[in-house]
Structure formats: structure tokens, C-alpha cells
Symmetry: C2
Subunit: 314 residues, 2 copies
């Protein structure tokens, strides 16, 4: 296991952009370790060169790697590296592959039709629509190959596969995206929004935290606490995203802002107004923090990450 201790105090002091620099500093060691592992899983000589290049473009692209960091920090909250039944890195890589696939497919012209992602042309703008569909399919499929071949303990491998498939599948991310696109019936108002976000964004964040805990051999109580944390933090993350979409600029976001309002998409700011949305985010963040209490000091990195995410500006 690679040491994941960030230079926290220093970067906190440097943080001029509402926690942005501190967030990057906290995530950087985890992000670098995840990217190294991701790169290894994508440098398979059996993948055709052009396809592998497009897969790397869509996944090794300066993302913050929040979800894999949640896997790793959640494992840290449960047990030291030496005391874990499994290394959480393959789970972290698999979670990030699923996240990258979902971005590639969500950006497609038939879906959200986004031209800009993390400050660069989206995959279909760069490589064409057919390649982008295949790249998404390939990243998703490889996520499951990573869990099957990368996790030595077979019972853990099967359990992690079940967690990830449930979160990513038609009762998780895909249900959320279908509802967000207006392809499925969803109740009006904040309850409907909550149901969209719990699946579109929340399901993978919840799974990330749970998968890290499972790799670290979490007992029932710790797993329940981390699940509650993941659910609150996942929803808080999306509520904050809605706030940022309504208030930030393209330069800061690295993607087109105001798209939600333009596309007539539901979001919390439109449903509740800016101030009530801020209060909702604060309430969810408080609940996430409360859920971690029983885990004590080993959950400090996770706490710190949740706090910085609540203050982020992109």
C-alpha cells in the first residue's frame, strides 16, 4: 500500500479558492497512486492502439479522483494497510473507471451533449461518437475485469463486483441518468430530485466508501456508519454541484456552466432557491460528519475530505 499522507497544513494555508488548493493537496497522493494503477490496467498490449489511446484520453485527464480517494480513505478509516484482507487499490481503480465511463456516455450528443469536460474537448468531440460509445463500454467492462483479476481474495472480489454492479447498473447510476434525462417518471419537487441524485451521483459515492470498507474487513457497525456517511456525502456532493452550476464560471468549472437551467433540467437551486440549497448542503455535511463519529481518529482523512468537498468551488 502506498502512503497517502498529504501535506495538509501547508496547503490549507495556501488555499485561496474556498478550499480548492487544499482539496487538491489532500487528493494528490491518492490521485497519483490511482493514476499509476489505472495506467497499468489500460496499457494492455491486447487493446488496439487507437482504442487504448482514446480510453486513456477519457480517463487519464486531470480528474480530481474523488471517488477512488473515498475508497482508499474509507479503507484507512477501518484498518491499517497491514491488517486488511485486501488491498483497496483495485476497487479504487474500478470505481474510477466506472465514473469515467459514465462521463463519456453522459456527454454524448444524444445525452447531455457536452463539448467540454475538465477543460478539454469531450471524448466524442475528440474521437467521434462511435469511438466514444466504445470507449465508455470499454472503461465499464474493464472495471469489472479489474475486480475479477486484481482482487486476489475471491469472496471479496465477488462481493465488490456485486456492490459496483448494483451502484452502476439500472437501479443505480443508469436509473439516475434516465430520470435526469426525463426518460423515466420521477415525482416533482425536492423528493424527485433527491431520488435522481441518490442514484445518478450518490450510488457510486456510497459504493466507493463501502468498497473501501469491505476491502479493509469492516464489521457490520463500521460498514453501516460508512454507508450512512457515503449516502449523506454523496447527496451533499450533488447539491454543491448544483450550487456551483448556478454560480460559477466556465473557467473555474472546466465545463460549461448553467447547462442545467438551459436544458430545463431539475436541480436544487431551481427547486429551492440558492440560500435554502446552501442550508441543505450544510445539513447533509453535518450528517456525514456525524456518521463518522464512532470511527474515531482513523477516519480523519475522510472527515477532512468531506469538509473540503463542501467548500469546493469546482
Amino acid at each position: 500500500m502506498i502512503a497517502l499522507k498529504p501535506a495538509r497544513a501547508q496547503s490549507d494555508r495556501r488555499s485561496g479558492s474556498r478550499g480548492g488548493d487544499a482539496l487538491c493537496a489532500l487528493l494528490r497522493p491518492a490521485a497519483e497512486a490511482v493514476e499509476a494503477a489505472l495506467g497499468r490496467w489500460l496499457s494492455d498490449p491486447l487493446i488496439p492502439t487507437a482504442l487504448a489511446e482514446a480510453m486513456r484520453y477519457a480517463s487519464l485527464n486531470g480528474g480530481k479522483r474523488i471517488r477512488p480517494a473515498l475508497v482508499l480513505f474509507s479503507a484507512d478509516a477501518v484498518a491499517d494497510a497491514a491488517d486488511r484482507p485486501a488491498d483497496p487499490m483495485p476497487a479504487a481503480v474500478a470505481v474510477e473507471l466506472v465514473h469515467c465511463y459514465s462521463l463519456v456516455h453522459d456527454d454524448l450528443p444524444a445525452m447531455d451533449d457536452d463539448a467540454l469536460r475538465r477543460g478539454r474537448p469531450t471524448c466524442h468531440v475528440r474521437y467521434g461518437e462511435a469511438m466514444a460509445i466504445l470507449v465508455g463500454d470499454a472503461l465499464l467492462t474493464r472495471a469489472f475485469e479489474v475486480l475479477a483479476r486484481g482482487v486476489a481474495e475471491a469472496p471479496l472480489s465477488a462481493r465488490l463486483t456485486g456492490e459496483l454492479a448494483a451502484a452502476a447498473g439500472p437501479a443505480g447510476i443508469i436509473a439516475g441518468q434516465a430520470a435526469d434525462m426525463g426518460l423515466c417518471d420521477v415525482p416533482d419537487g425536492p423528493e424527485g430530485l433527491r431520488s435522481i441524485h441518490a442514484r445518478k451521483t450518490g450510488a457510486l459515492i456510497r459504493a466507493a466508501v463501502r468498497m473501501g470498507a469491505i476491502c479493509a474487513g469492516a464489521g457490520e457497525e463500521a460498514l453501516a456508519a460508512l454507508t450512512a456517511f457515503g449516502e449523506a456525502a454523496g447527496l451533499a456532493f450533488q447539491v454543491t454541484d448544483d450550487l456551483l452550476d448556478a454560480t460559477a464560471s466556465a473557467k473555474i468549472l472546466g465545463k460549461t456552466p448553467g447547462k442545467d437551467a438551459e436544458a430545463g433540467k431539475r436541480n436544487y437551486v431551481a427547486a429551492l432557491g440558492i440560500e435554502p440549497t446552501r442550508r441543505l448542503a450544510a445539513d447533509l455535511n453535518a450528517r456525514a460528519a456525524a456518521a463518522l463519529e464512532i470511527l474515531g481518529p482513523p477516519a480523519d482523512t475522510l472527515r477532512h475530505l468531506a469538509a473540503l468537498l463542501s467548500e469546493r468551488d469546482r
Copy 2:
């Protein structure tokens, strides 16, 4: 395990369409059992109604179910139901889900742009492009959930997941489709064609046969024999498909014929001519049959299936 004994002799005699009726009769018991299991995996109350309906449209649609039958017949070739470490049905369902997903995505406007599949409007024609992308993603993800949650033996579950992910992923089906679309470099002539087909069609057929054998506890020799069978039969299947695309009518095929030539796609008939392609198919079928020899009478159903597939007219 459901009994999978077809009324073979009778249907062979009725077969007016070059083995078509006999093929359906051989496959029907397996197809019905697979469809019942598929239906159970897709009737999950957590899947939004509209998404579940589109997933069923794309998967419970009168397909012949050749690949899941290969899983089940391959298991039969290795061991009786009572002597197997695992029921092959979840593997059969997972393989069919991957096949159905690949058809939905291959048919998309940005890919092969097909309007007709199994005699009905394709998924994106019926439900729109966004839903079709999500349906494909959902069928693929659910395949892995079926292996994770449906296979009780964890080491087998992880092994089957690895087999399916490798066959479906960027070194398998996706590489084949990318090459077929001209998105990756492939050598000219029959060798390039072989490399496209080995991945686009062959990889999943090979995996189907291997997964059935693994569920039945195949030893090294039996697994090697069935792998060789799967490779030859998979290539033979695609060569026969190319022959049918060049010679059959839309009414018989249930899809638009002559699309390959029209799209400038490479196929064996264009590369070799009709008669040499027929000889190649015959050679591959002979090699498939030879590979099964060491398995004796338990492989009879698999032999019979391979023979009927070589004579099919759709």
C-alpha cells in the same frame, strides 16, 4: 437444472429450411429456460419502469439464444448436473445479456445505424438514442451483477467474471467492433478479417463455451478441447453470417441484408468470393468437430448444435 433434451429426430425430419427448424427445436428448451431466468433478473422493482421495459424489449425479443445454449451444452459435455460445482444458468444469462447489449450499441446511428433487428425496430428506433445507450449500458452492467450475485461459489464467480470481462472488453468484442468500424488499424485481407471476427463474434462464443465448462468443473484437457471448439465454431459462425449477408433476403434474416457490402465493410465473401468462403466455413466446422472428439457422447448436443449452425439460413 432444467432438462434440455430436444425432440431432435422429429424436428430434423421437418427441417425444410436447411436445418432452421431443427436448430430452433434443439435450442428451444434451453432458450425457454434462459428467457425465464433473464426475465427474473430484469424484473427488479428497483429498476425504473420505462428503463426496465426498454431492457426487456432489447433482450426478450425472440433471439435464438445460441450463446447461452453454448454455455449450457458445454457444461453438459463436461459433467452431469448433479456433479457440477455450479449451475451454469447464471453464466448463460450473463453471456446473453452481453450479447444483447452489444447488439443495441452496434445498431446505434453512430455505429452500424441499423433500423431492423430480429424483424422488429431496433432499440433506438423504438425508444430513442439516449435510452438505447442507457439500455446497452444497463444490460452490460447487469451481466456482471448476475455473475456476482447469481453464482454461489465465490472463486467460480470471480473466474467467470474475468472470462466474460476479457471477452466483452477492449481486447475482445469492443476491439472487434472498433476495427470493424475502421476506427483501429487492421491488416488487409483474410488475416485482418480473421482478427476482426475473432474478437467481434468469436471472443464471446469462446467465452460462452469456456464458462459452461468452468461451471461444470472441467479439467485442463476438457477446457482446452472446448476452447479449441469455441474458437473454430465462433469463426465458422461469422463466416456463415458473411455468406448469409451476401445471399439471403431480409425476410429470412430478420435484419437488413447486404449491409456489409453497402457500408464498404470487410467480409469474407468480398475478400475471398462465395465458394472459397464456403470451403473455409466447412474447414472450420470440421476443426470444431475434431476438437470435441476426446469428450465422447456427452458432447453430442454441442456437436449437433455446431452442425445445425453450419447449415442455418438466418
